[in-house]
Symmetry: D2
Subunit: 284 residues, 4 copies
């Protein structure tokens, strides 16, 4: 990872010969210095996916000019494409309930500048975490969940008002309404406390305990209408044994939930995640 300003181009298009040549030719023509490049072809859809990171200062044209000139090439190849600027920090709106291990972890990564993002606000259905969040100088909003539709309308308003880029459900523990999922498709990231697709829904550690599994896990995924069934970004597991109670599993689980969410979120923030149907391509 280089700390200089970078542009990150991500795109997908029908696979054919010459895509890499065309795109890298375009960059070369404008003196763009490629720092990192990744490609993938999905064999089921015959669709090609690409991510390129370019040193911003190396480019002989500015971003606006880039957008205009690249569109011709994109049209020719029928590309869906997007370019982002590392100088433009992503804005994370964090949703939490009462459990704060993921929140504590994310706020530390933010305040230590390991994770280069803006956190315009934290939203919760409880009051408990207000003082900790506000100590960081971040606004905290309490949304009452009694009327769920009203609550999610309020959440959407806060997100728009704070110009959010992505929702992070840091153990939010509330099921997100389908229309909200649709509206923010690919922009809601959840951490689920099991190794999906095992143990969907409530109390996954209890389910894991009952089944007697020898590893437990955590899954970072995009939220879709179907519960715990959206595209998976990152997962990990940790060993347990017969001596571990549900409480022990909860404790071990917290440590992997934190790291899996932090890794998945980082991939999203760095535009490393491309969604392909119900799966992800993660260009690490």
């Amino acid at each position: 990872m280089i700390s200089s300003r970078r542009y990150t181009l991500t795109l997908s298009c029908p696979d054919r010969v010459g895509i890499v040549a065309a795109v890298s030719g375009f960059f070369a023509q404008h003196r763009g210095w490629i720092i990192e490049a990744s490609y993938h072809t999905d064999h089921e859809t015959q669709r090609f996916f690409m991510r390129q990171e370019i040193l911003a200062d190396s480019l002989s044209i500015n971003l606006a000019e880039f957008r205009t000139q690249f569109q011709d090439l994109a049209d020719e190849f029928k590309m869906d494409w997007h370019i982002s600027d590392s100088a433009q920090k992503k804005r994370l709106v964090i949703l939490v309930s009462k459990q704060d291990h993921c929140l504590n972890d994310l706020l530390y990564r933010w305040r230590s500048r390991e994770m280069v993002v803006d956190i315009p606000c934290v939203i919760s259905n409880h009051e408990e975490l207000r003082s900790f969040v506000e100590w960081h100088g971040i606004p905290y909003f309490h949304v009452v969940m009694s009327d769920k539709n009203a609550a999610f309308n309020q959440i959407a308003s806060l997100f728009e008002q704070h110009r959010g880029d992505v929702f992070v459900l840091a153990r939010f523990m509330q099921i997100v309404p389908p229309d909200f999922c649709n509206r923010y498709s690919g922009r809601i990231i959840n951490i689920h406390h099991s190794f999906l697709p095992s143990f969907i829904g409530a109390k996954p550690y209890h389910q894991a305990y009952q089944r007697g599994v020898k590893l437990i896990g955590a899954t970072c995924h995009y939220v879709t209408r179907e519960l715990d069934a959206g595209p998976i970004i990152e997962q990990d597991t940790v060993r347990v044994d017969h001596g571990d109670s549900v409480e022990d599993m909860v404790r071990y689980g917290r440590d992997i939930e934190k790291t899996v969410l932090a890794r998945g979120l980082r991939y999203h923030i760095e535009d490393r995640v491309l969604i392909c149907g119900n799966k992800t391509i993660v260009f690490r």
Copy 2:
């Protein structure tokens, strides 16, 4: 692990004060040198589980005397108990189909004396692996699967005739009939090529590929009437990514299937696995 001759006592009984004192007192009285001792209380059933390994030569009584004298103590505490002698090798009857990576691994561990067992025969529903098995000097039996009941009767006969202790389904790929499962309850060990309870049944790597998981796994478990739902002995996972095809997953999977089966089987052979309902206690 000590290579001297050992007796291994395993037991379970209702939990109360004084069990360890009584059992270790019994050993001390007969000069039994304890090499390894493990305990566990299952909090749901309030049942106590114990495993003790004793140096055979240290004991002032022989195994027959032990059995007689220990029964009084066992009665007092309402123990289910079992004692095994490391000089009496466990007899593994291996069932295979065409895929031979687990078979190759087990036979290597056997011939290198890493796994101290007898393998009186290998049974298969195909002819393919005969020459490799017979090169090891192990009898190979081909059982035709067209009539499933007849086939499993034949398998049971071969097992009895060869005085088998445990069946190892080393990628056998056949569903075991319920009455066979019941008859050999706790004596049929399977390796399933997924992280259970995810991806039960056929083609788990295809299922994993479709779901887009970021880790795949393998599970060693006892076979029960319900498909892929028996007590889990051992599991492990390995990382995959979007670039991995189903064939790549199959290839990575083979490596964890081998090690998970070998570890689970070793625990069983060393009497480290106690079954508690649909879960296992594994005293590693």
Copy 3:
């Protein structure tokens, strides 16, 4: 793990027949309910090590009576022994420099009551972390390192004055003087940012980068006179590749440093670590 009040007995003595019987007999006689028991024999020294956790309320005698009566048994077997009371929280004195990822992690585990300890003070050779520590209501002491002997005398005074039980070097980055190591032998826990014995001393991530290793690690160990050579309590590793810069390694490393220190410290706090020469026995 059970949250009820527990006594934890740890001991070591020359190995012989009857130790377990004697100790568990002693507990049974006083109605002590054993929650957890672990044994180990070190074959090089023929020394036996034991740890037993007993439910405090089950015991028919109090802790003072226990100490008196157990001494006879301890004398007979020539035991070094210790009993601790879970109601008596261990007192951690944390030493830090400027890097605060381990500190943030420990303080979170403390304030979320995952780690049941007292933290009477934090000592640093810098001012930077004062406000964060004081927000937790924990006193913060700044010790100037220009005169190293004076500084460590001051640290020892603060430790004594605050009745510390154990020092935690949470990335303290200062070499501890030999006489200080001796004085607090077995009571100074350090996190070293490499997989020891690889990359002893300064800048281990740079050393790892230069050597081109494919995994980096972290090690939690007791501090002794010889730099980074004390008894190891816990270690872990994480995968890196040619694309990772030293800065990436530092970032990955922070996550394993935190978890390795937290795990190692937990083992120490729960009296699960017994020192045997330059090695540890960790009864997990």
Copy 4:
């Protein structure tokens, strides 16, 4: 991984703008369908490394024409380059001593066609493994080590005579003479039974046991003049604890030695490993 015939181009050259454009332009011009592409810049040397896999049938020119025409481009960019043809299987000459777990593993991967290579012969300083190797139809040569120079001359002769591409030291347990290392630089792959740079030289598991580490490892690396100090291709670790004897470590170690060697070797065979000074770039 695609099973169709592929060409794999690997190259390195001084870093500058336009390399990717030039190479991918060259492929596009000749209708070459890129299956996989990987790049890396070494920031210390400012050298650029690339690997491209092309579908052989897609190319409008044959390999001889490719070589001629690509040379112009290579000259312009001062490239060191190499192109290989998947139809041309790599020829592995395996050296073994008496320990056969890695040999058994490699021969299985070869005979199950998981590893698509030729094994023209196996060379050993002992007779023990002859029958197992010959059962596979592979010639076995016994080389006496009493005169080490003569022995390695004989090994070199056998390698040349069998048109070997790479030596695999599958637990060969002999130190390779410096001039032999130089002659076959980048073509001798060893598996060392420790996590290098820890525990260089003889009996690493004994060293690990003495140091009391909590993880042990294995390292696959290219052999150079300096013992166990060549470029590392792959490593892994496995957890041990105080209860594990040296023999237990040896047993666990065998399993990671096998998989680490198999993975490292696979990377080499698929031309995924580029050497950069004393480090490797592994394009997985």
